[in-house]
C-alpha cells in the first residue's frame, strides 16, 4: 500500500459508500420493492417538509369547526381590533370578527379556489391536448393559436376585464382562472403527445386498427401524467397567490366570503400596517408557507419522476 492510500482523504460520500458496501457484503440489503418514485420523494427532505406543512394547513382548514368556536362572519362591535389574547388567539379585526377562525375558514375557500381551478384546468388541458396532439391537422393549429392568444394577454388585465364583465363571485373567479389556466397544460400535454405517438407501442396499436380515441386516451394518456401532476401542484400555488392578490385589491372573491386574500384586504390601510400587526402578518405568513410548501412538493415530484436523475 502506498503512502497515498493511507492518507487518502475520506469524504462524506466515501463514508456513505463504505457503509453501504459493508451492509451489502453482509447480505443485508435488498432492492426495495414498490414505487421508486415514492422512495425518491421521501428521501427529499425539502419535499417531505413541504408535505408536512401542507398537510398541517390543509387539515387545519378542513377541521376548522373543531379548532375554533368562533364564527368567522359574526360581527362583534364590542371587541374591535383587539390584539391576540386567550379568548381570541390572533385577536379580532375591525368589525370584531375572530382573526384565527377567519384564517382557518378562509383557508378552505382559498385552497378550494387554488386546487379546484388547477384540477379543472388540468382536466380540460389534458383532454384537449391529448386529442389534438395525436390528431394534429388544422384543428390543432387553430386551438394552438387560441391558446397563444390567451397566454399572450397580460394575465391581470385579462382577469380584471372578465371580472368587470361577469361580476365578482366565487364561481366566477374560478371560471376565470380556469379560462386562463388550461393553456399551459394543454401545450405541455400536446408536446408530450407528439413525441409519444411515434413510440413503437403506439404503432403496434395502429397495426391492430384500434380507434384513435382508444389509443389516445387509454394507452398514451397515462404516460403523460408525470409532468402534469407536477404542473397541477405548481398551478395550485400560483392560483392561490393570484386569488390573494386580487382579493387584496378587492377585485377577487367578494369581501363577504372570508379568504386569505380578503383578510389581507385591510392591510391597504397604513395605520393597520403599523398598529394592528395581527390583522395581516399571520395571514401573510400562512400564505407564504403554504405556497412554499406546495412548491417544494412540486419540485420533489418532478425530481422523483425524472428518470435521468440518480437516486
Amino acid at each position: 500500500m502506498a503512502l497515498s492510500d493511507i492518507v487518502r482523504h475520506r469524504s462524506h460520500l466515501d463514508r456513505r459508500f463504505d457503509r453501504i458496501r459493508a451492509l451489502e457484503e453482509a447480505g443485508q440489503l435488498t432492492t426495495p420493492t414498490g414505487s421508486r418514485a415514492l422512495r425518491k420523494f421521501m428521501n427529499n427532505r425539502l419535499a417531505v417538509f413541504g408535505l408536512i406543512v401542507f398537510s398541517v394547513i390543509f387539515l387545519a382548514s378542513v377541521l376548522a369547526p373543531l379548532l375554533t368556536p368562533w364564527d368567522p362572519t359574526r360581527i362583534n362591535l364590542r371587541a374591535i381590533s383587539q390584539p391576540p389574547s386567550w379568548d381570541h388567539w390572533l385577536g379580532t379585526d375591525k368589525t370584531g370578527r375572530d382573526v384565527f377562525s377567519r384564517l382557518l375558514y378562509g383557508g378552505r375557500v382559498s385552497i378550494l379556489v387554488g386546487l379546484g381551478s388547477a384540477l379543472a384546468s388540468a382536466l380540460i388541458g389534458v383532454v384537449i391536448g391529448c386529442y389534438m396532439g395525436y390528431v394534429g391537422g388544422w384543428l390543432d393549429a387553430i386551438v394552438m393559436r387560441i391558446s397563444e392568444a390567451i397566454m399572450a394577454f397580460p394575465e391581470i388585465i385579462l382577469v380584471l376585464m372578465l371580472v368587470s364583465i361577469v361580476g365578482q363571485s366565487l364561481v366566477n373567479i374560478m371560471l376565470i382562472f380556469i379560462l386562463g389556466g388550461w393553456c399551459g397544460i394543454y401545450r405541455l400535454v400536446r408536446a408530450q403527445m407528439m413525441s409519444l405517438r411515434e413510440e413503437e407501442y403506439v404503432q403496434a396499436l395502429r397495426t391492430f386498427g384500434l380507434g384513435r380515441g382508444l389509443i389516445t386516451f387509454k394507452h398514451i394518456l397515462p404516460n403523460t401524467l408525470g409532468p402534469v401532476m407536477v404542473n397541477i401542484t405548481l398551478s395550485t400555488a400560483a392560483f392561490i397567490l393570484q386569488e390573494a392578490g386580487l382579493s387584496f385589491l378587492g377585485l377577487g372573491v367578494p369581501l363577504s366570503i372570508p379568504t386569505w386574500g380578503n383578510i389581507l384586504n385591510v392591510a391597504q390601510d397604513l395605520s393597520v400596517l403599523q398598529n394592528n400587526w395581527w390583522l395581516w402578518l399571520p395571514v401573510g405568513v400562512v400564505i407564504s408557507l403554504f405556497v412554499l410548501s406546495v412548491n417544494f412538493i412540486g419540485d420533489g415530484l418532478r425530481d422523483a419522476t425524472d428518470p435521468t436523475q440518480q437516486g
Binding site: 413510440e199 413503437e200 396499436l205 387509454k218
Partner: protein, 346 residues
C-alpha cells in the same frame, strides 16, 4: 390485376413513398424525400425475404408502407389470401380490417415497443377484443398460450415491461404480433438492439414459429451475417430502390451489383482465416432528399461509366447456373441476361 397465384402472398408494383420537405413561412413544399422510389417484387408464401441496406435506403419505410402505417404515394400493394386478392392502398379503414390482422410487425427497440404503463395482458387485450375474443377469461387464455409459444411463463402477463430484459421484451413483442393470427410478419431490425448472445435465441424462436405456423417473414436488417443464416431470398436496397434480388446462397457466392460487393467486403468477419479484400467506398451514405440522376449508386461506384450518370438501370434477370432468378440493377454486369422480360420480380 394478375390472377391469384396461391404461391405468392404479396405483390408490390411500382410502390413509392415520398415525403414532402416543407420550408418557409407558409410551409410550402420545396422538395421530396424519396424514401421508397419504385419497388416491384413478389413475395412467396412461407419464405423469409431479407431486406438489407444501410441507413437511408428505405427498407424500414418500405416495411411500414406494406403495413399501411405509412401511406404509399404511388403504386399497388396487392395481398393474396388464396381465395381473393385486394390492393391494400385502395382500401378504406374498415375494408382493411380483415387484411390488417394478417400483416403484423415486430419492432427494433425493446424499450419503446411496449407501453410502460400497462401490464403485458393490458397491452394485448384491446387487439384481442377487437378481433373477436369475447370474454376476459378467453382473452387471458389466449395470452397465456401466446406467452408459452414464445417460451415465457404465462404468469408474466401480469407484470410490467420494466421487469423484463431486452430479450424477453422482444419475445413479448413477437407474442403481440402473433396475437391476431397473422400470415406475414415484418421484422424491422428485430434483433439489432439485442445483445449478441441473445440474438441467437430470438432468431431460433422466429424460425421455430415460422415452421409451426407457416408464416412469411420480411426480415429488415443491416446485418448481412444474419441474413445469410436465416433468409431464403435477399433484396439489397439503395436509395429507395432494389439493386439486387436473388437467392441467399447466390448473393454471398456471386454478388453481381458493385454495391453488394462493397457491402459484403466491408463486413468485419469473426474468423481470422477469412479476411477479405476490402472494397472501401468513398464518401458517405447518401440522403434520399436529392438522389443523383441515373443510377443512384454511381457517385460512389468504382466502375462508373458515362451511361451510369444518365440512365437509371432497371432490375434485370440474369441467367446463371441454369436459373434465371438472380436480378440486379446495373448497366455493367458481365453476365448473360435471361430471356424473360423482367416484369415481375418473383
Amino acid at each position: 390485376m394478375p390472377p391469384a397465384d396461391t404461391d405468392i402472398i404479396l405483390s408490390l408494383r411500382g410502390v413509392k413513398a415520398y415525403f414532402p420537405v416543407k420550408a418557409g413561412v407558409f410551409q410550402r413544399t420545396v422538395g421530396q424525400v424519396k424514401a421508397v422510389d419504385g419497388i416491384d417484387i413478389d413475395i412467396h408464401r412461407g419464405e423469409v425475404l431479407g431486406l438489407v441496406g444501410e441507413s437511408g435506403c428505405g427498407k424500414t419505410t418500405l416495411g411500414k408502407t406494406i403495413l399501411q402505417l405509412v401511406r404509399a404515394s404511388a403504386g399497388q400493394i396487392i395481398y393474396h389470401t388464396g381465395t381473393e386478392s385486394a390492393d391494400l392502398t385502395t382500401l378504406s379503414d374498415h375494408d382493411f380490417d380483415p387484411y390488417r390482422r394478417r400483416l403484423q410487425i415486430v419492432f427494433q427497440d425493446p424499450h419503446s415497443s411496449l407501453n410502460p404503463a400497462f401490464t403485458i395482458f393490458g397491452s394485448l387485450e384491446d387487439a384481442l377484443k377487437k378481433y373477436g375474443v369475447p370474454t376476459r377469461a378467453a382473452r387471458r387464455k389466449v395470452v397465456a398460450d401466446l406467452l408459452e409459444a414464445v417460451n415465457m411463463r404465462p404468469e408474466y402477463m401480469d407484470r410490467y415491461p420494466h421487469e423484463f430484459s431486452g430479450g424477453q421484451r422482444q419475445r413479448i413483442g413477437i407474442a403481440r404480433a402473433l396475437s391476431v393470427g397473422p400470415e406475414l410478419i415484418v421484422c424491422d431490425e428485430a434483433v439489432s438492439a439485442l445483445d449478441v448472445s441473445i440474438r441467437a435465441q430470438v432468431l431460433e424462436l422466429l424460425m421455430q414459429l415460422r415452421r409451426e405456423r407457416n408464416l412469411t417473414y420480411i426480415f429488415i436488417t443491416h446485418d448481412l451475417s444474419v441474413t445469410e443464416y436465416i433468409c431464403d431470398r435477399i433484396a439489397v436496397m439503395y436509395l429507395g430502390r432494389i439493386v439486387e434480388l436473388c437467392r441467399s446462397e447466390d448473393l454471398y457466392a456471386r454478388p453481381l451489383h458493385p454495391y453488394t460487393q462493397a457491402l459484403l467486403s466491408a463486413i468485419p468477419v469473426a474468423d481470422l482465416d477469412k479476411r477479405s479484400n476490402r472494397v472501401v467506398l468513398e464518401g458517405d451514405v447518401p440522403s434520399p432528399v436529392n438522389p443523383p440522376p441515373g443510377c443512384p449508386f454511381h457517385p460512389r461506384c468504382r466502375f462508373r461509366q458515362p451511361v451510369c450518370t444518365t440512365d437509371t438501370p432497371p432490375l434485370r434477370r440474369f441467367a446463371i447456373d441454369g436459373r434465371d432468378d438472380h436480378m440486379a440493377a446495373c448497366h455493367l454486369i458481365d453476365a448473360p441476361q435471361a430471356a424473360a422480360p423482367a416484369q415481375t420480380a418473383s
